[in-house]
């Protein structure tokens, strides 16, 4: 009962996103109209939707990753500032999976899970298992070398006659890592955290040539990412006029803050600085959304909308001092692993909010299910996730989700979140344990490992059993930060250029 009182005290504007989502789920049944946030009142299933075939053989798929888009900054996930009108509109008419947890908190491991359907420990594009291969440029190894047996989503679709094109901002989804595996064409601009400003035109060019075929497109950009600055600079549209401009929003500042956090355990920023960085982030998100809107307009002009399944998501979130750090990769708190996921089906008119907790590992099985495409015989047992199509039919698909991060020379963490909101994080190099009751403490501020020792014990066993079951016995290895970096600049003894 006290729980309810606590929740009632939170105004809808400041409401935490998990609480927001819980309420939204309740509201979709009857009292949706009382909700004041735009874009969500219509999450009511109607008769038309029930008739959706949910089998789309030979339809197109456009898979969009808005890199580093934190769930809490998305309107259709409860953000109050209107920065994602295009995504929100798609969410409104599609399936809005509001509790999607990414398998990792940074790009390289997280994104490859979409394309292989296995955990990062398994596809091995993590710094722990990557092989340092000097003098190759910037990149240490790739999927073919690390996990030659894995079949990618693009490969499966290509085998089924799809044209496959990837248009990205490089860096974490660089072709050098093997992200190009299975793509007819894979664009990644060398040495950059590139934006959709570059990848969208390339994508549209490719579409013009391939629009008459069935195709699978991966569209990606770092527009929201700390290392990307809008062409022409910021206009500071959301920054308070009175801000003393201690920061300007540059990539260098952002990088310095990240490194400060890693070095000292926390960054020294003032409340107004955090507000500033969130304002900068909102500007980036709004610009990204606008770019994507233009892409959709072009796309519609080609007459492809009704033939296409859209998947909109992000590989991970990012942190603005929620846990005293900036940037991402180094922890597994919700601001880093809770991501948006919207799937729209051809001709879908009204959407549905699905609050079941699911994982980014479910995306590949869902796409294959919708397209009615099967994994090749050899790779049949590869997929670890489950199709979300049953959720679209109204069935519960809520599950425990597992995440992991092996971040640079800094940390190795693993986490599990239960369906009913217990989150356990284990840090391998120092055996640190964290337990959060997300229902009571959605911001993960109060570690209750001492208050709930039995739950912590059982979740720890569960976490280790999970990784053992996928062939990674965490107890059997040494976990010492700095063993195997992903970029050569992060290798031990590397000389800074």
């Amino acid at each position: 009962m006290t729980q309810h009182n606590e929740h009632d005290a939170i105004s809808s504007k400041e409401m935490d996103r998990r609480e927001f989502l819980r309420r939204t789920a309740l509201a979709t049944g009857a009292i949706a109209a009382t909700m004041s946030i735009p874009g969500l009142m219509t999450g009511i299933a109607n008769a038309a939707e029930a008739k959706l075939p949910l089998k789309y053989k030979d339809y197109n798929v456009v898979f969009v990753s808005f890199d580093a888009l934190q769930a809490a900054h998305v309107g259709s996930l409860g953000y109050s500032r209107n920065v994602t009108p295009t995504i929100d509109a798609m969410a409104k008419k599609g399936f809005n999976f509001t509790n999607t947890i990414s398998v990792a908190s940074w790009t390289v491991p997280a994104s490859m899970t979409w394309f292989t359907g296995v955990y990062p420990s398994e596809h091995r594009l993590t710094n722990k298992f990557a092989i340092f291969n000097p003098p190759s440029n910037n990149v240490l190894s790739n999927l073919k070398k690390l996990s030659p047996e894995l079949v990618t989503l693009a490969e499966v679709l290509k085998q089924n006659g799809y044209a496959t094109g990837g248009f990205t901002g490089n860096a974490g989804v660089s072709g050098f890592f093997g992200y190009d595996q299975g793509f007819d064409q894979y664009f990644f601009e060398k040495g950059k955290f590139g934006s959709m400003g570059v990848s969208i035109p390339k994508a549209l060019d490719w579409l013009k040539e391939n629009k008459n075929k069935k195709f699978f497109m991966f569209l990606h950009g770092y527009d929201c990412h700390g290392q990307n600055i809008p062409e022409g600079g910021f206009d500071y549209r959301f920054v308070d006029k009175g801000y003393d401009k201690k920061y300007t929003g540059s990539a260098k500042e952002q990088e310095a803050l990240r490194e400060e956090g890693l070095e000292k355990g926390s960054v020294a920023v003032r409340d107004e600085d955090v507000k500033f960085w969130r304002a900068i982030y909102d500007e980036k998100i709004q610009r990204t959304d606008a770019r994507f809107k233009k892409f959709l307009e072009e796309y519609e002009k080609m007459g492809l909308l009704d033939k296409t399944i859209f998947v909109l998501t992000s590989d991970h979130g990012t942190e603005f001092f929620e846990h005293k750090h900036m940037d991402h990769g180094f922890s597994l708190y919700d601001e880093l692993i809770h991501v948006p996921l919207v799937i729209t089906l051809p001709k879908q008119k009204s959407g549905k909010i699905i609050t079941d907790q699911i994982s980014s590992i479910d995306v590949m099985p869902t796409i294959l299910d919708l397209l009615d495409v099967k994994m090749p015989e050899k790779a049949k047992n590869q997929l670890r996730g489950a199709s979300l199509v049953p959720a679209m039919k109204g069935k519960s698909v809520a599950k425990e989700v597992y995440s992991e991060t092996d971040y640079r020379q800094y940390t190795y963490k693993r986490s599990v979140i239960t369906k009913d909101g217990w989150k356990f994080i284990y840090t391998l190099e120092n055996k640190n344990r964290e337990l959060y009751n997300l229902k009571k403490d959605p911001k993960e501020l109060k570690n209750v490992v001492d208050q709930e020792p039995r739950i912590a014990y059982e979740l720890e066993q569960k976490l280790f059993a999970h990784f053992k079951s996928i062939g990674h016995d965490l107890s059997a290895k040494q976990w010492i930060p700095g063993l195997n970096p992903v970029y050569d600049s992060q290798a031990k003894g590397a000389v800074k250029k």
């Binding site: 208050q451 020792p453 739950i455 014990y457 059982e458 066993q461 107890s475 040494q478």
Partner: protein
């Protein structure tokens, strides 16, 4: 706090019955397959656990393990009601090291209890009592061996910073009361009182006794003390007193005497002064057996108390020895090596419903398997840090379902010479042992030698691997061992130390004949296994942090 946690978790489970089902089947290898509709109460909800640990107990001195003398009628009774493991192996010869493996399920280098002078923070905290406490168990211990009450001294020599390691997670941690000889190594009868007072609670009780520790039979009362003495026998050492200060009482076979016996000779001033007769050896063994017999009477009292309190039917009783004792088979009396005399242990498990009673299992099992077995039986998720495997499949006859290794790895950890230098020599005077001026002078040299060679840091690579058939011992620094051997010191000779020993345990269970040269392939294969294990856990090796601080063991 525990109760709150329990309630919280209860709510958590009720909210999602399906998840609870998952917990049971997914987390525990031997988990039950209860129907999800009405899951039966888990065993940990109603089963007590008693762990009876006997230090220095050699299984082959028990009737249940084939000893011809009448030393253990009560333990034999318990064994008949239990599953008995004929080949149970401890991971070290040293009490705290071996026992920490039992209550954590980890190899010594992993649990961190690698010698006497480690600090609390260096040792794994996730012990059996800690886990059982999470599941609502009252945890109690009545303990006799001083090793389990270690304290660290400061420069002042006063105990100002008690750091019990083994008392962690016990609601009650009781020790035995010293007897007239001043030793706490007596029967832990307070455990029976605790049982009477707590019979209605769900409990884990650890009962430990160090009665068998040298001096053999020190605390055994008459007439039990002399019951196995050869008739009319006078101990050989009384003709050659080395402990001039002591009153003339029978305090068992003195440790200092045992420390001066090697390969059949009694040494004083580095000269053999007496060749041990068959009677002498029989006397020493008899005094050891007197300890077994008197301990056995306590086991009888324990079993009777459990019956009288109607606890037998709801209590899992694990009986084991922490490690064994060499009784002259390798030239010495004491425990300081990785021979079977020292590392082979007794192990029996009596289940509340007496299921499998009388079963004997010959497959080799290990100290690290005990914790997983208890947790598995109680349907508690097994701690992932545990390196052993549940014995429940073996117990149920499912040999293939047993996930344990056929290889037992044993560490001579720490080197006994390290313990000697850091503790034994230091405290000779406290035990009123008085040596001759020549021995005292040379003892200083010996201590300097230890200081120079091994007290600064741990010497590596004195390790062994054992299967049901073979034992391979690797002593990489055999020359060093030869130089610093206490026995070579006390005898003034250079008995050689082999760097590789292989024993055929079928033909030679007492490990008398090194057959390494006859079986090069076996050596090669076992050595590879052993070195692979060694390398896999090497990085976890904890080195003792407390240096130069003398250790005080109360109630020596």
């Amino acid at each position: 706090m525990t109760r709150l946690a329990g309630r919280g978790f209860g709510r958590y489970l009720k909210a999602i019955p399906a998840a609870m089902f998952m917990l049971v089947i997914h987390w525990s290898d031997g988990g039950c397959s209860a129907a999800p509709a009405a899951p039966a109460a888990e065993r940990n909800e109603y089963t007590n656990v008693i762990l009876v640990s006997l230090d220095i107990l050699r299984p082959d001195h028990l009737g249940a393990y084939g000893y011809p003398k009448e030393t253990s009628p009560q333990i034999d009774r318990l064994a008949k009601q239990s599953v008995l493991f004929e080949n149970a192996i401890a991971h070290s010869y040293l009490t705290p090291v071996a026992h920490m493996s039992v209550i954590t399920g980890q190899y010594p280098r992993n649990h961190g209890m690698v010698s006497f002078e480690v600090s609390k923070n260096q040792v794994s905290q996730r012990t059996l009592p800690e886990i059982l406490k999470l599941y609502g168990y009252q945890t109690a211990a009545v303990v006799s061996s001083p090793e389990f009450f270690m304290r660290y001294d400061t420069e002042s020599g006063k105990i100002v910073n008690p750091k019990d390691i083994f008392s962690h997670a016990f609601d009650y941690y009781g020790r035995t009361v010293p007897d007239a000889t001043g030793s706490v190594r007596v029967n832990p009868t307070a455990a029976l009182d605790w049982l009477k007072a707590n019979k209605d609670r769900k409990f884990f009780l650890w009962i430990e006794t160090g009665m068998l520790h040298p001096p053999y039979s020190q605390t055994v009362p008459m007439p039990y003390k002399t019951q196995f003495d050869p008739p009319g026998y006078t101990p050989f050492y009384e003709q050659f007193p080395i402990r001039l200060g002591r009153e003339n009482a029978d305090r068992g076979v003195p440790t200092e005497v045992l420390f001066h016996v090697y390969r059949g000779n009694y040494y004083l001033d580095f000269q053999p002064i007496h060749k041990l007769t068959e009677k002498d050896v029989s006397f020493i063994n008899g005094r050891y057996d007197a300890g077994v017999y008197y301990t056995d009477t306590f086991i009888g009292d324990l079993l009777n108390t459990l019956d009288a309190l109607k606890l037998s039917g709801k209590t899992l009783v694990i009986f084991h020895s922490i490690h064994g004792e060499s009784l002259g088979e390798h030239g010495y009396f004491f425990h300081h090596d990785v021979f079977d005399t020292e590392v082979k242990t007794a192990l029996t498990m009596r289940f509340p419903d007496n299921s499998q009673a009388g079963k004997r299992i010959s497959r080799q099992v290990q100290g690290i398997d005990i914790l997983p077995t208890i947790l598995d039986y109680l349907q508690i998720p097994i701690n992932h840090e545990s390196q052993g495997a549940s014995l429940m499949p073996l117990i149920k006859g499912d040999e293939a379902g047993f996930k344990g290794s056929e290889y037992a790895f044993i560490d001579r950890l720490p080197w006994w010479e390290y313990v000697l230098g850091g503790w034994h020599l230091e405290h000779q005077s406290e035990r009123e042992a008085q040596y001759t001026p020549l021995e005292i002078a040379k003892m200083k040299d010996y201590r300097n030698l230890l200081n120079k060679t091994i007290l600064g840091e741990y010497p590596p690579e004195c390790i062994a691997v054992r299967t049901n058939k073979w034992k391979l011992i690797l002593r990489e620094k055999s020359n060093l061992l030869e130089n610093i051997s206490w026995w070579n010191f006390i005898s003034g000779k250079k008995f050689p130390v082999d760097s590789i020993e292989l024993f055929d345990l079928d033909k030679d269970p007492m490990e008398q004949k090194n057959v390494a040269k006859d079986h090069p392939k076996v050596v090669e294969q076992l050595k590879a296994k052993l070195l692979e294990w060694d390398a896999s856990i090497k990085k976890n090796m904890t080195t003792p942090a407390v240096k130069g601080q003398p250790l005080i063991i109360p109630y020596p």
